[in-house]
């Protein structure tokens, strides 16, 4: 223990964390500022939060963001789970490598390109851009994250569990619902949370695919900041940070639990 926290380690650790979190801390700190000026402290106040909740435009944007995130995360999780089932279960079919490669590709695709290509698609199809196009776009890119999260759990799933359920009287569909899904639940929930957070955060793809009627929060913040930062933005950002943090923490707890469960299952299979 003693040589773990030498002054060198401590310093570099502190510097690292300061580098990462000081900007965020400052942002949160000044969201409680009395003053209108972002950089001058004038006493504690929650008035910017009150202001924020009075601002219709912000509330509208928040509502759009939330609706997009809920819907896109749900659809992406369903599609991602199905893709994961096929990837893990189907065995070796023709074009399997291509298929799984194509599922993973959007993970490394630059967002600008994804956004641009979706924009071109929507224009070509003559779709009115707005809430639905943003949602579609978010489904497209968060689906592959969901597929990755679910399939990593799926590969360790013991198929004889499904066979046992079938043997005891379940149709294949029933055994999927009664046995596979509950066991996979932690992975599916964390996939959903990941997709939800990704959708909440996204600025680039939403900017490309949104229309006049629909503005998401990140877009709203970005456009506001160009006119000058107000503590209202700080307040809003603080709330967003909280939501995202909670999402990430919940997802990681669920993943940890799923991991522990998987280890217990493995132990069970071995002993």
């Amino acid at each position: 223990m003693s040589n773990r926290f030498t002054w060198f380690n401590t310093t570099s650790l502190t510097l690292g964390f300061v580098f990462l979190y000081l900007p965020i801390l400052i942002l949160v700190f000044f969201s409680f500022n009395e003053s209108r000026l972002v950089t001058v402290w004038a006493g504690f106040s929650t008035k910017w939060y009150v202001e924020l909740f009075k601002d219709e435009a912000f509330l509208d944007a928040a509502l759009v963001t939330l609706r997009v995130a809920l819907l896109s995360a749900t659809v992406a999780t369903i599609l991602g789970t199905l893709a994961a089932v096929v990837m893990v279960r189907a065995g070796r079919f023709r074009g399997r490598t291509l298929f799984s490669g194509m599922i993973y590709a959007p993970l490394v695709m630059p967002e600008v390109i994804t956004g641009l290509s979706l924009l071109l698609l929507f224009v070509a199809m003559g779709v009115d851009r707005g809430f639905w196009t943003i949602t579609m776009a978010h489904i497209t890119f968060s689906m592959c994250y969901a597929a990755v999260v679910v399939s990593s759990r799926m590969v360790t799933f013991d198929r004889s569990l499904e066979e046992a359920a079938t043997d005891l009287g379940c149709t294949p569909f029933q055994s999927f619902i009664k046995v596979t899904l509950p066991i996979m639940a932690p992975a599916i929930i964390s996939a959903w949370l990941l997709a939800f957070t990704l959708s909440l955060d996204d600025l680039v793809i939403a900017s490309f695919t949104s229309g006049p009627g629909a503005t998401t929060l990140p877009m709203k913040i970005y456009s506001q900041v160009r006119l000058g930062v107000t503590p209202k933005i700080n307040a809003l950002s603080t709330i967003l940070i909280m939501i995202v943090t909670m999402g990430v923490i919940t997802a990681s707890i669920l993943t940890k639990r799923a991991e522990a469960q998987r280890k217990a299952d493995e132990l069970m299979a071995e002993s």
Partner: protein, 381 residues
Amino acid sequence: MNISSAKKPSTRFEPWDNPNEKPLVQFKNVTKRFGSFTAIDDISLDIYEREFFALLGPSGCGKTTMMRMLAGFETPSEGIISLGDDDIGAVPPYKRPVNMMFQSYALFPHMTVEANIAFGLKQDKWPKNLIEERVEEMLSLVQLRKFAKRKPHQLSGGQRQRVALARSLAKKPKLLLLDEPLGALDKKLREQTQFELMDIQEKLGMTFVIVTHDQEEAMTVASRIAVMDDGKIMQVATPEVIYEYPNSRYVADFIGDVNIIEGRLDNRTDEGIKLSWAEGQPEIAIANNTKRSENENACFAIRPEKVHVSREEPLDADNRIRGQIDDIAYIGNLSTYYVKLSNGMIFKAQESNRRRLANREFTWEDQVWLSWRNTAGVLLD
């Protein structure tokens, strides 16, 4: 070798010898192919009610495929599998009155012991009070009442094995399949569990089919054994017959230890037939074996424990050969002597160690006589 010491001669159970008895399970010319690979090659087999039937063979012999076809996870490529009066070849697993205990146990990790056992009953829409009653009954049967509320990962390997057994028995299947049920247990527990399985089978009067690669396990629990190799059944018989009267070199070699001597039959006499097998070695006298004629190539098989080792020439023995002890394998209760004959062949003979080590008569390099009666071995093709 543990030769079904538990079978009681007073309750003779031999439906396979009764031509009027109708088998519960029938394989009729069943073939199963996976692509170009033939896993099961034209097998016909009858299994009778209340039997404890073992499918025994090395891995890859097709025994698991046989079981999976019975469970409904595989359908035969050709032939008919019937259960009672029904052809079940194409019936899906969830519609068969057959349950299976999986090698990995396959207990549902998100359910308690109770819920695991009740799973199949709920699926069949039993009334609630009957489910509770049945679960209780099953828990007592496998002595796990105290563990009803636990999750599978909170149980030991042996306890999980019992839960898996209870779950597969709960629906009162016409046929219970056991896929290497004791493979994951250690030796002591395995032996104990073998007897428990037999007790349960007898108590419930059910038909069990067990798949195993462990010959001792098959010999201990089974009423009959099918020895399989390469998608074919080599022999189906009681453990005693399989051991004492193997019908082929493969079966003789697969079950237990054996000395195999190849030679040529000659000199049929009233007492039997003789096998000449090596220059300078006495011919082997084999008790009357009417099926075989003179001047035919044959294989003689004899189990090591049927061969007696002595220092003096046993003049009254039907067969005696001289040799030198080349090696001794001491495993505590038994010693196997590897005796080198003058023609270089190594002959195995087994003696039980009734005396303690210091008093044992033979040691390495000793000249000894091997002897056996003319009924001790069998002729194989």
